[in-house]
């Protein structure tokens, strides 16, 4: 009777050892399996390198399902503000084959290269894209921002 329990305990001990080894292997494995998501940087060069664009929510936080204002800041490569730009906005969800639920517009120039983009609304979590066509005295260029919620 006693010997059966001894064997059982030994078995449990071996199982625990195995779990421990597996845990060490799992925890120390390199994290390369994670798929790389879209580039979500909020500041980037425009497609042809004409401007440096930054895109950020005006009040700092993104709220799902609410109309929000964002700021698009446009600078030249040398860091000078881009003034008097005409901005057209489009976008959507690349994985859901639909566009934006609203038509955001550049409604105000706030100085120092900052343009207020009103009417931005994200109705679901996931990968969104906002595409800006920018036309200024320096020329025309485009920039694409990814927003992942």
């Amino acid at each position: 009777m006693a010997s059966i329990w001894r064997y059982l305990l030994a078995g449990l001990g071996l199982a625990a050892l195995l779990v421990g080894i597996l845990a060490v292997v799992y925890l120390t494995a390199p994290r390369s399996a994670r798929p790389a998501g879209p580039d979500v940087s909020r500041t980037k060069n425009t497609a042809n390198g004409l401007f440096v664009a930054s895109f950020a929510p005006e009040r700092g936080v993104v709220r799902l399902g609410q109309l929000q204002s964002w700021l698009l800041t446009l600078k030249t490569k040398a860091g000078a503000p881009v003034e008097g730009a005409a901005i057209a906005i489009s976008g959507g969800m690349p994985l859901h084959s639909h566009g934006l639920p609203t038509s955001p517009q550049a409604t105000d120039y706030l100085g120092d290269g900052r343009y207020r983009i009103e009417g931005v609304k994200f109705t679901m979590s996931g990968w969104w894209q906002l595409h800006f066509a920018i036309s200024a005295t320096a020329g025309s260029d485009t920039v694409l921002f990814n927003v992942v919620l």
């Binding site: 566009g99 639920p101 038509s103 009417g119 996931g126």
Partner: protein
């Protein structure tokens, strides 16, 4: 020896109960918490309607909502289709007022939180919505001067205590409206501009009273909400709040593989937006292209947010101002309905196309293409067991 065997039995028990406990990742728990009614924010004031939170307006609105006198032939009220004991809907595939409409009656729980009204969003405020069936010949089939005369005769004092003096209606036609029959249109066109705007003002106030009442209709907590609250707070679900294995699988599918939560998100299970999901048309009903045709209607509505009858300033009009007006995905796009209470209010979709939740889930699993425009849904590859689990989960939103 006995102590050791007792210890082993205890270990086995711990391992076994650990296996049956619902196992959700942190991301899943975050999503589940976002769906719980406890995450529903307080109802915001409606600055376009200064009577929205005036109790006397809500009381008058409730009287009007149930009053069959608020119709052309005295037989139909808002409550004819929005039945108070049926989640404010009527269980019919298409609503029947004075005539038969081509759309399903929508339930009203939480309606004041919608940015757009009707299945296609052809109105942009709760008070502007309430006016539309009043003059639709298939619904309440009345006209706006008749409503103004009726309000003065039946509820004149109550109206004036809330909204101020009624205009002088003497000399105004008994029946006139820009949307009525030829005689009513002619009578409307014969009125002076001042008379027409005075009548429109009374008409808008009728909508504001009904809207004030409707703001009180809110969703109630369900079994899902109790389960979600326990899951998030780490409490042990008890009694009614315990989910079966099938319900847990359904919930996991809902927020995972089946992609339901993509559109049915937030505590009301809706993104308040419009989507073409390939729901088939019904033979014999007039052509129905959904959101794409509603855009012009809401723009042309004199009671919209840009119109003269809005209270407050135009900063409340963002949805209308930044509305998508022309995009291919608006074709046959319809509003995402809330799923709260859905299990006990068949039939489903904008014209009652499906008679059971099984049919709805089968539709999304199969993802048939749309007759016009492009459906946003893709085939899901769900097994029979998974489809049944989704239906089981949906039922927890009605219990």
């Amino acid at each position: 020896m006995r102590r050791r065997s007792r210890f082993l039995a205890l270990m086995v028990a711990v391992v076994l109960t650990g296996c049956t406990k619902p196992d959700f990742s942190d991301a899943e728990k975050t999503t589940i918490a976002s769906l719980a009614l406890s995450s529903l924010p307080a109802l915001k004031p409606d600055t376009t309607d200064r009577f929205a939170d005036v109790p006397a307006a809500a009381a008058l609105g409730s009287t009007l909502f149930f009053d069959q006198g608020m119709s052309g032939d005295g037989s139909i009220s808002c409550s004819t289709c929005h039945k108070i004991d049926r989640q404010f809907q009527d269980d019919l595939p298409q609503a029947v007022g004075v005539g038969r409409t081509s759309r399903r009656t929508m339930p009203l729980a939480g309606v004041a939180r919608d940015p757009w009204f009707f299945w296609d969003g052809r109105r942009d405020s709760l008070w502007a919505q309430a006016l539309t069936p009043l003059e639709n010949p298939l619904e309440q089939a009345g006209n706006r001067t008749a409503y103004a005369h009726y309000i003065k005769a039946r509820f004149g004092e109550r109206y004036e205590r809330i909204f101020g003096p009624l205009p002088d209606l003497s000399g105004m036609p008994s029946n006139a409206s820009p949307l009525g029959n030829d005689a009513e249109k002619a009578a409307w066109n014969a009125m002076s501009g001042a008379q027409r705007s005075a009548i429109d003002g009374v008409f808008a106030n009728i909508g504001k009273a009904i809207a004030a009442f409707e703001r009180s209709i809110e969703p109630a907590p369900t079994r899902f909400d109790r389960f979600a609250l326990d899951l998030v707070t780490g409490a042990e679900p008890k009694g009614h709040a315990v989910f079966s294995k099938q319900e847990i699988l359904g919930l996991k599918l809902f927020i995972g593989k089946a992609n339901c939560v993509t559109c049915h998100n937030g505590p009301r299970f809706t993104d308040n937006s419009f989507h073409n999901t390939g729901v088939p048309p019904i033979a014999g009903l007039p052509p129905d292209r959904g959101r794409i045709d509603a855009v012009r209607q809401v723009e042309a509505d004199p009671f919209n947010c840009f119109g003269a009858y809005r209270d407050g300033d135009a900063s409340a009009c963002g949805e209308l101002r930044f509305m998508v007006k022309d995009a291919p995905e608006l074709v046959r796009a319809y509003k995402t309905p809330s799923l709260r209470g859905a299990a006990t209010r068949s039939p489903y979709m904008h014209a009652g196309q499906f008679s059971s939740l099984d049919e709805v889930v089968a539709h999304y699993a199969k993802a048939a293409p749309s007759v016009e425009g492009t459906s946003e849904v893709h085939p899901l590859g769900l097994s029979d067991r998974e489809r049944a689990a989704l239906v089981a989960f949906l039922k927890t939103l009605s219990e």
